[in-house]
Symmetry: C2
Subunit: 475 residues, 2 copies
Amino acid sequence: MQRIKRLVKHIISRINVNLKPMGLDIEQVLMESIPFDELTKYYAYYALSIDHPLYFRFRESNLGGTYFLGKCDVDRSIVFLSDIRGDELKTKNTKVQFGEVKTELYQDEIIQVINSYLIRTLVHNHSRNPEIPEYFRILNTAAMYYSNIHGTTTEGVYLGAFATADLSVLHNCILGNYAYVQAGDLSRVCIDPGRIWIRQEGKYEFDYRYSPVTIEKYVSWDQNGELTGVFAKFLKGRRSDFLPVYDSLTASENQIHVPNHAFLSRYAVVKGDCIIGENCLVAQRAYIEDSVMGAGANAQENSFIVNTECADLCVVAHGGKMIYTKLGEKVFIGFNCFLQGTVDKKISIGAGSIIMPHTIIDAEEPVTVPEETLVWGYIANQNDLKNQSMSMAEFAKEKRINLGNMSFTGDGAAFIKDFQNRIDHILVENGARYDGKSHSRGHAQKTQSVSYNLFQPYLAGEKEGLFPTIVVEDN
Amino acid sequence: MQRIKRLVKHIISRINVNLKPMGLDIEQVLMESIPFDELTKYYAYYALSIDHPLYFRFRESNLGGTYFLGKCDVDRSIVFLSDIRGDELKTKNTKVQFGEVKTELYQDEIIQVINSYLIRTLVHNHSRNPEIPEYFRILNTAAMYYSNIHGTTTEGVYLGAFATADLSVLHNCILGNYAYVQAGDLSRVCIDPGRIWIRQEGKYEFDYRYSPVTIEKYVSWDQNGELTGVFAKFLKGRRSDFLPVYDSLTASENQIHVPNHAFLSRYAVVKGDCIIGENCLVAQRAYIEDSVMGAGANAQENSFIVNTECADLCVVAHGGKMIYTKLGEKVFIGFNCFLQGTVDKKISIGAGSIIMPHTIIDAEEPVTVPEETLVWGYIANQNDLKNQSMSMAEFAKEKRINLGNMSFTGDGAAFIKDFQNRIDHILVENGARYDGKSHSRGHAQKTQSVSYNLFQPYLAGEKEGLFPTIVVEDN
């Protein structure tokens, strides 16, 4: 393992060059978090699809358990049990516009992960990086358990557990546990744990802060550097269900009916009685148990849908978790939401509602969210909705809101509109609206004819844990 | 599948350029044999070992179900359910001597498979090619079911089913079904089915010919181009036992005790009660059922060992098959031998005996071979041994033998000695004599810490059945 240890030192040094000036020394965090004894345990895998341009280059890295799609270059990194999804990479000659400035890609966009440590991280590209649109870059970055890097290049960034960097530009930046940002340029900014910050320069700004006590309850570290809290406990209890899925090479095809234009990843868990509707997308590492997925509904990576009904066109974003929940049509569940009902304390969300990223509804009594409602923050009972939700029509009329721990300034209508447009974009991209015509095909249809290539590291000697250099090209 | 069809045409044209002048048009044979509907069915896999120099390059090929080890370059070929074993490739700067001439390798040796079609073929290098020792080349070659290419470059060669090309140099050469050659330069030679021909220029020559009727019974083709006969029937009946082995990623570890320095490939089948001795090697695609493998015994690729006892240091070469057989110490079972006993018609082979490659003992009564006996050809009963075997001590005294369908001229002692030296080489290479010291490690010990990388072809579109271009390098 000498080579892996040298690699870890290298990654620490590169991240520290960026973050020590910000006051964070990454060494202890990383040393406690890197699962040295598990680095040879899981295979990495990449998808071969006829619908996505293909190119992989892996060098001097450990990639245990990680999934790759699209064009990816990983160099001198540890990318552990993560998803690097390049299915919305831009192709050569695509015209892009950033504000007033137009430009054209001189080559296909590629995801580059360099000098970085990612553990159980979701990377999804659809980038809006104006500086080098050809490279979706994750450089000198540490991303902890269940963090999301979405449409955002990160250079010199620390993402805490369950943190999400969404459609931003981050240089030398620290995101606390369960923080969510979608706020443009965040260079040299430190984001507190549990802060939900959405800012569109000149348009609007939304800011919510969880109380530190709540964050501590749901996401924290014990004295050994182990992730603890309600989220970790929830996930650990379900981890073993993934073992047979990853051990077998044959998808258990007859377990459940999958309509012709729906896609159920063979790397998803399906337990109990489930129904998958037409044009559904159930991604790898999604978990569905005794639940219904309506037509065009989608369950993204690390989502858990248990004893839950999702009506048509519901979107459960990366890391969204639901137990005993009922969603009306076209409900959106944002990144890393946690909706925990029980058999006698169900959660019900009305049609068209938007549950904002990083929302927690942990029901101590039945909770009902009306239709067309925007919901955020921490909710334990029906009364909490007063300060943590608002009808979307009301919100759209506002220019300034102060409600509980949330403040909003700017154009409420634009804020709602942007959210809705993005949900529509997700539905289209995922193929939820596929009507049999080629131009409406999305991920659910494009991923149908996919095969997987599995690769492993050296199991002994000084290279133990290191993967060989692999280059895969289309032919 | 357009690309695959183009590839097949290309391979046919390149083989025909070589073999049409020899009177063989390969087109019909190949078109009937290529399993077009199975080309997307099996994953290929390569081993990552810390003891073997690693380099793979795969281009414009189908590699369904094939195993690779060492350094291999496959270009414009179909290599189906085969084993390309480069574990005895020479390294850079190795000094080699061919007759009087000495030379030194200017780079690591690599196996190159170009413009070729291999189906269920075993390729094992240990080459003795004096012309380009850096390249173990399989060029413009068609190798049919269960043929062996062993230590032999082949350029413009057709190998029939169960044929073996061993330690030869073959250019534009045709080997009939179940033919075995180990005969030096065989350029522009056509070998009849069932001919066993061993020739060392100036030293000795052994020549045996099966009757065409016997060959027809054991290896033949039906009018649809399907392989038939006793061998094919035997193998087909056991094929389904390999499915769970290839479907699962976890070796079924607790099924059987494997001593510390023995190696049981996770891609071997073990059924019923089996015992594996210390320093044993059981290779991928070997099949053991209710059998005992003594210390240092080895079961090579495509060997089937059923209700059989192998004493210490027995060698079962590639494709050796035994049912209800008992082997004394250090018995050698050559390539594609078929020893079929039954519960009341057992076969017993005395210690130190050599069952020559391509020997058939199909017992219609119990058959007992004494110790230190050389056996060849076709044997159905005890009486057949008269013409198809000889005590090794006797053989060593002879200069000329004519016995049944066998003729021998030359130095009998050298013939026996060369065989024994080769068996010793096999035992050493396989680690059968490992004594805990590093220099005596062999394949059984070196393959301990091996991991496997699995890769698949495109599943749809014009590239259906084609694998992507993959380059794997050590780092």
